[in-house]
């Protein structure tokens, strides 16, 4: 006769001994990962960086000076064209290295000295806007980015403008086509942004909602179609003259169409009525050569 209880106990002991190493390893990995996550999630405040004492000696009586170079006399030059440059201090006669991604220009200072203005390069954002094609997305049913509708241009004739249309940058952006490798073979294709607008125009024709015409104006402005942006901003202002964004798009479109004086006049009349801060800022920008 077999002693079942004894056999079960010895089996249990064997099982525990068998699984103990795996359990210990698992617990150790979990502990380490939690500790690593906690360590990485620690917010290190900048107070630690700022508490580094500056070793420069400074006394209230005599004011010490930092490392000094003799000032280089620079002839005053007006900012004419952007000069690509990248240097901490450049003597006037030295040629500045051409750099495609850095845009610099000389800024006239009141005392007659010129400074090199360095602007950042934002081309890196394209890698986020347009990720690599090998990226696989999760399958989503009917994920067409835009809708295609029939083109309707009758609205554009309602607000004729005598100024000629000028084609200005940027061009229409096409988002890349991504395809997933899932078994259901769902392909995600993005179409031209301009066709997005037609659906909105259709809806606007039905209900004359100024929010829709403002949306269309903004989209056309983003696409570089400043003539159409101007037209729709004008339509929006006709329906409701108290929408600030509409006036701003209206003015910006006029500036892009080289109608700066008209833009300034329009903004001045809007500011007189509304005292809008954003309109004042835009007016100020336009008077100083903007908007960017």
């Amino acid at each position: 006769m077999l002693n079942v209880h004894e056999l079960e106990r010895s089996w249990l002991r064997y099982k525990i001994k068998h699984t103990l190493p795996y359990a210990v390893a698992g617990v150790a990995v979990i502990t380490l990962s939690v500790a690593a996550l906690w360590y990485l999630s620690l917010d290190r405040p900048d107070t630690k960086e700022s508490q580094e004492t500056i070793s420069a000696s400074s006394q209230p009586v005599d004011r010490p000076k930092l490392a000094q170079r003799p000032p280089v006399p620079v002839a005053q030059t007006a900012p004419t064209k952007p000069v690509p440059a990248l240097a901490v201090s450049t003597p006037p006669e030295r040629e500045i290295e051409n750099s495609v991604s850095v845009s610099t220009q000389k800024v006239a200072r009141p005392q007659g000295q010129t400074k090199v203005l360095i602007k950042p390069s934002m081309g890196f954002l394209e890698t986020f806007k347009h990720p690599p094609k090998r990226l696989v997305q999760e399958p989503e049913p009917q994920k067409n980015v835009t809708q295609t509708t029939t083109l309707s241009t009758s609205l554009s004739t309602q607000a004729p403008v005598s100024t000629p249309v000028k084609k200005v940058d940027p061009p229409v952006q096409n988002t890349p086509t991504l395809s997933s490798s899932t078994p259901s073979n769902i392909s995600i294709t993005a179409r031209q942004d301009e066709k997005d607008i037609q659906d909105v125009i259709k809806r606007f024709k039905k209900n004359k909602n100024p929010a829709l015409s403002l949306f269309v104006a903004k989209r056309y402005y983003e696409l570089g179609r400043y003539q159409k942006a101007y037209n729709y901003a004008l339509i929006t202002n006709d329906i409701n003259s108290e929408i600030e964004d509409s006036w701003l798009i209206f003015a910006r479109s006029l500036v892009r169409l080289d109608q700066r004086k008209m833009a300034i006049k329009a903004l001045n009349s809007y500011i007189d009525d509304s005292d809008s801060a954003r309109a004042k800022i835009l007016l100020d920008d336009i008077k100083h050569g903007g908007p960017r």
């Binding site: 900048d46 000094q68 280089v72 360095i118 390069s121 954002l125 801060a277």
Partner: protein, 181 residues
Amino acid sequence: MRIFLISILLLTSIYADAGSKLFQLYQDGAYQDACNHGMRTFHPNRKDESFVTLYAFSCLKADYIDRLAVPITVLKNSKEARANATYFSVILMQKKMLFHSLLDKSEIPELRLPTTDHVLSKVFDLYMQDDEKFDHDVHHYKDPSSPERFYRLYVSHKGPVDKMIIEEFYDQMLTDRHILW
């Protein structure tokens, strides 16, 4: 065995889409969150210069200027990266010099340095032109390119750390405040 695999999967999934999350936060205007997120996920993405650059711009917009130090050293492998590193280094240097001068009443001699379009650079240039910079604690500077804009610069001694504060005004209205330390 299963627990080991699950823990490995958890670890790898955390860093999988750090770049897209950073971009999303940046586009939403949550610059402080973007900067903190970038700092947390910096190490595995340190070789991605786009990630590092976006992290640096997020910290710049969130006024965490000191955090630009690491991206400045990392951005060096492409022309665009070096250009942006220069941009950040100018701003960081100007911040440090301004801070030192304000707190320690230290004279900064005329140095021919490049400038940027960042508000810190503008205020630094105006501060350098101020002949009476040590005569008052609060500095008001008008923007020479725009008469309606002016800046107010002062040091706040509240709290454990002294802070340098730059306030932007447009037509007597406060539009932005930058607190730097």
